[in-house]
């Protein structure tokens, strides 16, 4: 009889897509193993505990799983109400990091908390805030994206983009662009608007590249320019700009079909690929587990994204769909960009591989977003 009522009374946990959480956890465990294999040799050589990085990653994964579980329980529609506040807080954090953050690798992007061995990267959390805020904003307009609305949405993206540009962190900026593109595209932006904004985007990028040639200040740092040159010309400066991408391809190729075996990869062990435990962790997998390992990993990711895609379709409200699309866009872009860069089909940008790369903020945020998607999937029966 009162089917809706009965549905209402049923626990949402019955509908939750647990497989997403399982896949995420599995991926994170693979990540821990790779964190170990890509650092143990050098750590041992330096007389440190070879498991330093792996242990820390285990801590991050544990926190991430807790966050994922926590994010599942609270009804996601509550997030929508606090979307603007969350957005504001994260933007403030992004401003603050420019003044109080610590600089690493030339970017001022991390907060260092006393007593902790790791830093916090506010830009990672900004991804969550922007996904929620953008989804909420677009959902409020009911999918009716006029030019003004689109402009406002662009503005919402422009603020974090500008703040991250000041750090600067080109890779993370691109993630925000990907999130915005995905959400706005699905939300119903008109084709002509998409074409026009794409053109503007291209002009801006070219302008940034050549800003110093056009008489203005250099907006792009030299390393970023070189990385793009190296991408377009793989033999450019093999000991410098092209070193990383060249070495990572060698490592992946050396893996062959079956891989060298865990802890056996020479490129991995001897630190020949820089940033191996973070952005280039995929090369460790490629070298030590070979084509078979890569296939398994890609299938796991594909399964995760497919489940998320189904959640976007089954969500009963637009906010849920758009938030899910935002998360989906973010994961897709990060996975494709990161793996693509290690294999030389994308330019090098500093983007972590979700669940695998060593790093607290990115791991926790990835688990949080998965929690959000599970949350949405659990409540698809609620109107």
């Amino acid at each position: 009889m009162n089917l809706p009522l009965r549905k209402e009374l049923r626990s949402p946990l019955r509908y939750a897509d647990y497989s997403l959480g399982l896949v995420a956890t599995l991926l994170a465990l693979i990540g821990v193993a790779l964190n170990y294999s890509s650092t143990w040799r050098v750590l041992e050589f330096n007389g440190q505990d070879p498991a330093t990085y792996a242990k820390r990653q285990i801590l991050f994964v544990a926190i991430g799983i807790l966050v994922m579980i926590g994010a599942t329980f609270l009804d996601y529609r509550l997030y929508r109400d606090f979307a603007n506040q969350a957005y504001l807080i994260v933007m403030l954090a992004l401003v603050g990091v420019l003044f109080f953050g610590v600089e690493r690798n030339g970017a001022r992007a991390w907060y260092e908390l006393p007593g902790l061995t790791f830093q916090i990267q506010p830009a990672e959390f900004a991804k969550v805030a922007v996904v929620i805020a953008l989804a909420a904003f677009v959902a409020n307009k009911d999918g009716n994206l006029r030019l003004v609305t689109l402009g406002n949405a662009f503005l919402m993206l422009a603020v974090p983009l500008g703040l991250i540009y000041l750090q600067p962190d080109l890779g993370t900026m691109l993630v925000f662009v990907a999130i915005g593109m995905g959400v706005l595209l699905v939300a119903g932006a008109q084709l002509k608007h998409i074409v026009v904004t794409s053109l503007i985007g291209i002009v801006v990028v070219i302008g940034m590249f050549n800003s110093d040639n056009l008489g203005g200040p250099a907006l792009l740092r030299e390393t970023q320019e070189q990385r793009l040159t190296a991408f377009l010309d793989p033999t450019f400066d093999l000991q410098g700009a092209s070193y990383n991408v060249n070495q990572s391809q060698i490592a992946i190729g050396a893996g062959g079909l079956r891989g060298q075996g865990w802890l056996q990869g020479t490129q991995t062990n001897l630190n020949l690929v820089p940033e191996q435990e973070t952005d280039f962790i995929f090369t460790a997998l490629g070298e030590e587990f070979g084509f078979i390992g890569i296939t398994v990993l890609l299938l796991l990711y594909a399964y995760m994204l497919a489940r998320m895609w189904f959640v976007t379709r089954s969500s009963k409200d637009l906010f849920g769909t758009f938030a899910c699309v935002g998360a989906l866009s973010m994961f897709t872009f990060q996975i494709f960009q990161n793996i693509g860069m290690t294999m030389g089909i994308m330019p090098i940008t500093g983007i972590p591989l979700p669940f695998l790369s060593h790093g607290g903020s990115s791991t926790v945020v990835a688990f949080g977003l998965i929690g959000l998607v599970i949350n949405i999937s659990a409540r698809k029966h609620l109107a």
Binding site: T266, T321, V325, M343
Partner: protein, 710 residues
């Protein structure tokens, strides 16, 4: 859920599938299609190979006198490629002021080395610690001051042509040597023993494979082998006798330059010559001199262009680097009459004691229908009167041997080439097989040789379009060692040794043994060069008369051709037998632009009745054999006598007996049961390739005797 949203989500899904397909394809490309190539790059990435240079072996004489050694020497190397053209001068100036080597010298050393243009070049050697310190204090880029093991030849030019020298590797051999594990800076043997025993002298380089990380830190040693030092080479020459031989040869040449030639009225040029002392009992070479000579030390540390020109491109001392004892080809002249005499006896044309009237010339009888030259004169047209075989040799009667050679010409059948066959039996016309590089084989003229020569280069050999047929005149000229005959000094010594010792023709040994210096075999000899017999000749009946003729060469009473040179020679127990030769050289002297003077030749053995040593002396454009070469040989023989007194213990006088080969019917020779019964070395026995087999030194399983006769 409206349609539009669904469509757009579907688009997103397809996009994601496309992106994953791209990743998958790329992974396939890298890990399956190009995996091998990338694996190789990965290996090159982390393996660093360190090569340790082995210590080069020494070269010593038979009693242990060191002829080539290694010393620690301070060297300065300059890498020119670090500097723009012209900028190097500043650097050289500073080095010049510190080392007091003139800047021109440094420059020419930099420019004249035949090495890779990017390689560092040695500009100065032999620096002491202080000198190295001063240069390294400059800290100039591309300039290195370091200790290096450097080759030194402590005896300087003594035995230079035998020992050879080392130098930077040439472009042609660079790739091959680097592959064998040589370092680009290493010096390799360029001539002589240094070259031919390069493999033994060099040793094995040490090789360490290290696993290194991106910052070059070493993680593991993958494999390590220590360098194996090169083996020592013990020569059969005696350094003192070698020094004496070289010195007497030089003095003889200088003396000849003060003598006026009767033919031309000029002084003899006497530009060069060779002398060989050989133990005729086992083929050991005790001394081998070649003039003009050089000091190999000059060539080790980079020679200046001026030095090089003055020494090696001097027109008055041509071919200083050539070992004339094995590379110089000379007409033997009357020395060759030994061959003609034996050939005549073999063909039974000569009755040893028959009288022959030497009228001073020989004319080809009319009945033979002479073409070409028909009358052949004695050296100074002097009639010697009545001679027999013995006195024809002692007094060197040309007419006698003209007659013999002419008569031999008209024999047909197996003995048609009796002179040539006898010459080949005594080792002329082929390499003796001494362990030195670039040995010439010489030439024994017959019909084929003449035809081939005339056809290959008619302008040089046959300017007047003469017949390419072998004419009586050709055989007559050959009979006294002129014309189409050319031999080396070592061949002369070897042939006379074979005649003196009763017929055993050796391959001369100049190396006695190769002694290992590696840890596990230190001091044990790797290769022993036992006497190597080429063949055993049987001389015809009447060769005793030939011997008797050779005995008389120093006798005034028998009017021997060398009696003046041996006047006052103490022949008690050390009398000699020998033969003089005066060979007309063809063509013009390229520097003086006048007809070449006669070459002086003298070959002798001693003691006369217990032959132990044979001496051969050849002097280019130095006059008569009896006047120029015989005095040199006399002094060398005196030195040999002194040498025997200095080392009184009997020298290796071991001639290995030939195996007795049982007769096995040909049909049974393939069967093990029979062949295993046959001693080693017999033609149908089991061939055991063995390095030390005296009959098969090259180790190819075929006894050298057979190889050479093929």
């Amino acid at each position: 859920m409206n349609e539009q949203l669904n469509r757009r989500l579907a688009f997103l899904g397809i996009l994601i599938i496309g992106l994953f397909a791209a990743l998958f394809t790329r992974a396939w490309y890298l890990q399956v299609l190009t995996a091998d190539e990338l694996s190789e790059k990965a290996r090159a990435n982390y393996v660093e190979i360190v090569i340790a240079e082995p210590t080069r072996g020494r070269i010593l004489d038979r009693h242990g006198v060191v002829l080539a050694d290694n010393i620690r020497s301070g060297v300065i190397t300059v890498n020119q490629s670090r500097y723009a053209p012209g900028q190097i001068d500043f650097v050289l100036e500073q080095i010049s002021t510190l080392t007091e080597i003139p800047i021109e010298t440094l420059k020419s050393r930099l420019e004249n080395q035949q090495t890779h243009p990017l390689a560092a070049k040695v500009v100065a050697t032999g620096l002491d610690e202080y000198g190295l310190l001063r240069v390294s204090e400059l800290s100039l880029p591309g300039v290195e001051a370091k200790w290096e093991m450097s080759r030194i030849y402590p005896q300087n030019e003594i035995g230079a042509h035998v020992v050879g020298y080392v130098g930077a590797m040439s472009r042609g051999q660079e790739d091959r040597l680097l592959q064998m594990g040589y370092l680009p800076s290493e010096r390799v043997g360029k001539s002589g023993i240094e070259q031919i025993f390069e493999g033994d002298l060099h040793g094995k380089p040490g090789r360490t494979e290290l696993e290194v990380d991106s910052t070059g830190r070493v993680h593991r040693i993958l494999s390590q082998t220590d360098p194996t030092p090169g083996s020592d080479i013990y020569l059969s020459i005696d350094a003192d006798l070698q020094a004496a031989t070289e010195s007497y040869l030089r003095q003889g040449l200088i003396a000849a330059r003060k003598t006026v030639s009767d033919d031309s009225g000029f002084f003899y040029p006497a530009i060069g010559g060779a002398a060989v002392v050989m133990d005729l009992r086992n083929g050991d070479v005790l001394a081998m001199a070649s003039h003009p000579t050089y000091d190999p030390n000059w060539l080790v540390g980079g020679i200046t262009a001026l030095e090089y020109q003055s020494v090696f491109e001097n027109p008055y001392a041509p071919g200083a680097l050539n070992n004339r004892a094995i590379q110089g080809l000379y007409s033997p002249g009357s020395v060759f009459k030994l061959v003609t005499a034996l050939a005549g006896l073999e063909a039974r044309l000569i009755s040893p004691r028959a009288a022959f009237y030497d009228v001073g010339y020989f004319q080809i009888p009319d009945k033979y229908g002479c073409t070409g030259r028909c009358t052949f004169y004695n050296a100074d047209k002097a009639p010697l009167g009545i001679v027999d075989l013995s006195s024809a040799i002692t007094r060197s009667s040309d007419a006698y041997f003209y007659q013999v050679a002419h008569d031999l010409y008209w024999i047909r059948g197996d003995e048609q080439w009796a002179i040539q066959d006898m010459a080949k039996l005594l080792g002329f016309g082929s390499q003796t097989g001494i362990q030195l590089p670039f040995e010439k084989s010489g030439r024994i003229g017959d019909g084929d040789v003449k035809e081939a020569l005339f056809e290959s280069n008619p302008d040089a050999y046959n300017p007047y379009g003469e017949s390419t047929q072998w004419l009586p005149g050709d055989n007559i000229n050959t009979g006294i060692g002129q014309g189409f005959v050319s031999v080396t000094a070592i061949q002369l010594a070897n042939a006379y040794a074979a005649f003196a010792n009763g017929g055993t023709l050796f391959s001369p040994n100049i190396v006695e043994k190769v002694v290992a210096r590696s840890e596990d075999r230190f001091g044990s000899s790797v290769i022993d060069f036992d006497p190597r017999i080429q063949r055993i000749a049987e001389f015809p009946e009447g060769s005793g008369v030939v011997r008797e003729g050779l005995h008389g060469v120093t006798s005034k009473a028998r009017r021997g051709t060398a009696w003046r040179a041996f006047e006052g020679y103490d022949s008690s127990g050390y009398a000699i037998a020998g033969k003089t030769g005066t060979a007309q050289a063809e063509g013009k002297n390229p520097v003086l632009q006048r007809k070449k003077e006669d070459s002086a030749v003298f070959v002798a053995w001693a003691p006369r009745h217990d032959p132990r040593y044979v001496v051969a002396v050849v002097m280019e454009e130095a006059g008569f054999g009896g006047e120029a070469a015989a005095p040199v040989a006399r002094r060398i023989l005196e030195a040999v006598r002194a040498y025997e007194q200095r080392w009184p213990d009997p020298q290796v006088a071991f001639i290995p007996p030939r195996p007795e080969c049982p007769e096995i019917p040909e049909a049974l020779r393939g069967y093990d049961a029979f062949t295993s019964y046959v001693p080693e070395g017999c033609p149908w026995g089991i061939q055991v390739p063995r390095a030390n087999n005296p009959e098969d030194v090259d180790g190819d399983g075929v006894p050298d005797l057979e190889e050479r006769s093929q």
